[in-house]
């Protein structure tokens, strides 16, 4: 359905020059980035660089104090979170956002209720993570770390969002599942979903990304394609601590 967008495409998400604070500390000092329709943008950086804060600003959980965020052709600066999300956004937060006192089934029920999708969709998503289906009646707090992560991803996929915002989705997953996730993301990108991906697993991130933004200390240090990044090893050495 979103095929015609591709190519012609503007961006689905454009963040320009946002400044975000936690209390008095000025964390994001003018961050700009873009996710083009049907593409994947990877946001990389060392611990404490401001990646999560950027995502939280976009989703409206820690609103930026200044700057502009345009999502799906709407200026969403200052919007409440649930309104933003209803525009077609799926979010996998850093801490996984699992509800400790809900069973897996209830998690999925709530997600279905919130996004109004059919239960058929549920089966499709569960097929990606068979492990989850084995744990339907466990409480969130009884899941293993990796199972929580899978549930969090599944939940975001469930709503068929136009933009997936993922904060370290591979964290705590077994290598084989990381591959699975990576493949899944590649597949849904094919169907036109756009992705904003924060990852410490640079390998996975770069294999998926169409463009890369690197943050350090709340500022953008690099913005370009994965290929350009590979050709500039000094940048990745300096801001990621590895050469890619």
């Amino acid at each position: 359905m979103s095929e015609p967008d591709k190519g012609t495409n503007g961006s689905i998400l454009a963040v320009s020059d946002i400044h975000t604070y936690y209390g008095d500390s000025h964390i994001l000092q003018g961050v700009s980035l873009e996710v083009r329709r049907g593409e994947c943008t990877a946001l990389l950086g060392r611990n404490g660089a401001g990646k999560t804060t950027t995502l939280r600003s976009i989703v409206g959980l820690t609103p930026a104090r200044s700057g502009r965020i345009v999502f799906a052709n709407q200026d969403i600066s200052g919007w409440t979170t649930h309104r933003i999300v209803r525009l077609g956004l799926g979010y996998v937060p850093e801490n996984r956002g699992i509800f400790s006192n809900l069973t897996v089934r209830e998690h999925l029920m709530v997600a279905v209720w919130a996004s109004g999708v059919s239960s058929q969709r549920l089966d499709q998503v569960l097929a990606i993570f068979p492990r989850i289906s084995e744990r339907m009646d466990n409480l969130g707090q009884q899941l293993s770390g990796g199972e929580q992560q899978m549930l969090s991803i599944a939940r975001a996929l469930l709503g068929e969002p136009d933009l997936l915002v993922l904060d370290e989705p591979s964290e705590g997953l077994a290598p084989i599942i990381v591959n699975e996730v990576s493949d899944t993301l590649a597949r849904i990108k094919e169907t036109g979903t756009s992705i904003l991906l924060v990852e410490q697993n640079a390998e996975m991130a770069l294999s998926l990304a169409d463009s890369v933004t690197i943050l350090s200390q709340g500022r953008v240090q690099f913005s370009g394609t994965p290929k350009e990044l590979e050709e500039a090893p000094r940048i990745s050495e300096a801001y990621l601590g590895v050469s890619v």
């Binding site: 950086g45 492990r131 084989i176 590895v242």
Partner: protein
């Protein structure tokens, strides 16, 4: 000669669900051992039993020949075992320094002292600083834990376990959430641990596992499938199929 850590035929059930089934493991002092396995295999559950947070349904766990199964966590820690948590379990409202001080103070005789100022125990402060430096946390020493980024919290999680200076150290996914740069630092640190300290590691990052440990046990559905050297594990077809997947095809991965 008795092993430092002995786990014999340990089983754990939750209701009807068998999570760990007849698990055995023996570690000598100074061992570097990893447990890997798919998500939900029971690694964390195993850690919880060893460290006193869960009581095994059956089986024995002993440290230096002393049975610790069913002991409370603090007693196990007193017996010389420390662990980090997969899910951050930190003093969110305290500073990094305070957190580390508490870890170190736990082994000091001062811990029940209510008449002397904590600030007069300079050695504890000094050691807290050292512990922070080891994990590259010195710059955020006086920050409240809740203002740290996720990766920084993960580092503190490990630092606090290390600060207990245990005989046996259990780390549950210490590298998760840390950036490649910090990960290199972590590996370095683990490789420089005191010789006599025993390390039991759960980790999904194979670079760390292969780079630090000399023996690896693979756990699947609560059972130990194989135990072997990194090389053996890497070559094992079953392990590849069930756990490693294709990414290790080109030997060791690309980033290091």
């Amino acid at each position: 000669m008795t092993q430092q850590l002995q786990i014999n035929n340990v089983t754990k059930r939750f209701g009807g669900l068998r999570i760990i089934e007849g698990f055995d493991l023996e570690l000598q002092a100074g061992a570097r051992h990893a447990i890997i396995g798919p998500n939900g295999a029971g690694k964390t559950t195993l850690f919880n039993m060893i460290s006193g947070w869960l009581v095994p349904t059956s089986g024995n766990i002993s440290i230096d020949g002393k049975n610790i199964a069913g002991m409370s966590p603090e007693k196990v820690t007193e017996a010389g075992l420390a662990r980090s948590f997969q899910k951050n379990t930190l003093f969110e409202g305290l500073s990094v320094l305070e957190s580390l001080r508490l870890s170190i103070q736990a082994r000091s005789r001062a811990r029940f002292n209510f008449l002397a100022a904590a600030s007069s125990f300079k050695d504890i402060i000094e050691q807290a600083c050292i512990a922070a430096e080891k994990m590259n946390l010195q710059d955020v020493l006086d920050r409240q834990v809740k203002t740290l980024s996720y990766g920084q919290k993960r580092q503190l999680e490990v630092a606090m376990a290390l600060a207990c200076s245990p005989k046996i150290l259990l780390l549950d996914e210490p590298a998760a959430g840390t950036s490649p740069a910090e990960r290199t630092l972590l590996m370095q640190l683990l490789n420089e641990l005191p010789k006599e300290m025993t390390l039991l590691l759960v980790e999904h990052d194979m670079d760390v596992v292969f780079g630090v440990c000399s023996q690896i046990t693979v756990l699947n559905y609560g059972r130990a499938v194989v135990t072997g050297t990194p090389e053996e594990i890497r070559q094992n077809e079953d392990v590849r199929a069930a756990y490693l997947g294709k990414s290790l095809d080109q030997d060791g991965g690309r980033h290091e």
